[in-house]
Symmetry: C2
Subunit: 205 residues, 2 copies
């Protein structure tokens, strides 16, 4: 009954869910999983506690939902790039730009992911962050090796893969740590191009 009242009184259903979703992402990212409370999340979202329990069941539920949404979004984009044909450098640039844009949109999820990897244990429910990390790593590696086979790239595939991943992560980290120094999509494209230029086979060399 309480939840019905919440829905009737408040903004349309989808909006409440979205508000809770982004408020929770912000609270978790700022305070960490352990010390974040349902009260803070609902206060930031401007809704009542029963709304959170209705849509997500619990603090754990909203945490998992945030991560799953971000990762599903990544999978969708990764799958789209995987279907592309053509030059490896174009597909690589496209993949990186998609991932950069995605991370810009899910900065709080990226921050949660970083705090999982680098921060102290938070008692948060298990989430397989490695799956996405490896998926991105493997996709970049695969396109790099295709480019080497087709004669488009030259060099050590592992080194080229890490250089590409480094360019992506550096620009995301800058956004997290020093947003005042962050680059936009065009700036990010220039960073990736430095690395791609270093991978391209030059005639006469």
């Amino acid at each position: 009954m309480a939840t019905t009242a919440v829905i009737r009184r408040g903004p349309p259903e989808q909006k409440v869910r979205e508000k809770l979703h982004s408020a929770a992402a912000r609270v978790f990212a700022r305070k960490g999983y352990a010390t974040a409370t349902v009260r803070e999340i609902v206060e930031m979202a401007g809704v009542t506690k029963p709304a959170l329990y209705y849509y997500f069941g619990s603090k754990e539920g909203v945490y998992k939902a945030i991560l799953e949404t971000g990762f599903r979004d990544f999978e969708t984009r990764a799958n789209a790039v995987e279907k592309m044909k053509g030059r490896a450098s174009i597909r690589l640039r496209r993949l990186c730009r998609e991932v950069f844009a995605l991370m810009q949109r899910h900065l709080d999820v990226v921050r949660l992911m970083h705090s999982f990897y680098y921060g102290p244990p938070q008692g948060a429910p298990f989430f397989d962050f490695d799956r996405a990390l490896f998926r991105f790593h493997d996709m970049v590696g695969k396109i790099v090796r295709q480019g080497v086979r087709s004669g488009e790239f030259r060099g050590n595939p592992e080194a080229m893969t890490l250089a590409v991943l480094g360019a992506c992560n550096e620009c995301i980290d800058l956004e997290l740590v020093h947003p005042e120094m962050a680059v936009d999509g065009a700036g990010f494209g220039r960073v990736i191009d430095v690395v791609l230029r270093g991978m391209e086979r030059k005639d006469g060399r």
Copy 2:
């Protein structure tokens, strides 16, 4: 009197200090500043509490000492590279390899730095992590611009700077997050070389 007893009974003075230092770095890096205790640190170091108070004064004292040692080491290496003459690409490669080697040796400090930037607030005493971050960023940027002026590099200096920093950070992150995939010094050199090749001016282009 207690501290004197500790020193007399235990290993030589310098060794006790070093043991406490590295045990504390490990405990802070694993548990975060807030939940780490003096008891855990001394147990891991295999010494008694008074030894920690004698050498570092407090939990805060040992925390600061760890960070200051790491950053002093960085400053020493940065200053040495700054005095180098010659081609920008050689100085850049040298700087990056020095920083990579340094970070490999101070992995726990790097982990603390990451958890400061990405993790939840830990109530740790203030430490100016940005100083070293900016110093490295500025040094790379300066050598890149010198290389552009001398005609050695071609491209956007900011993009080239981020590509170089990305290569360094990627290899360090791999060591922190997936040590089984980490690269050694030679592997790191190959990653940096991909980026440097992308920065070099090619004749006829």
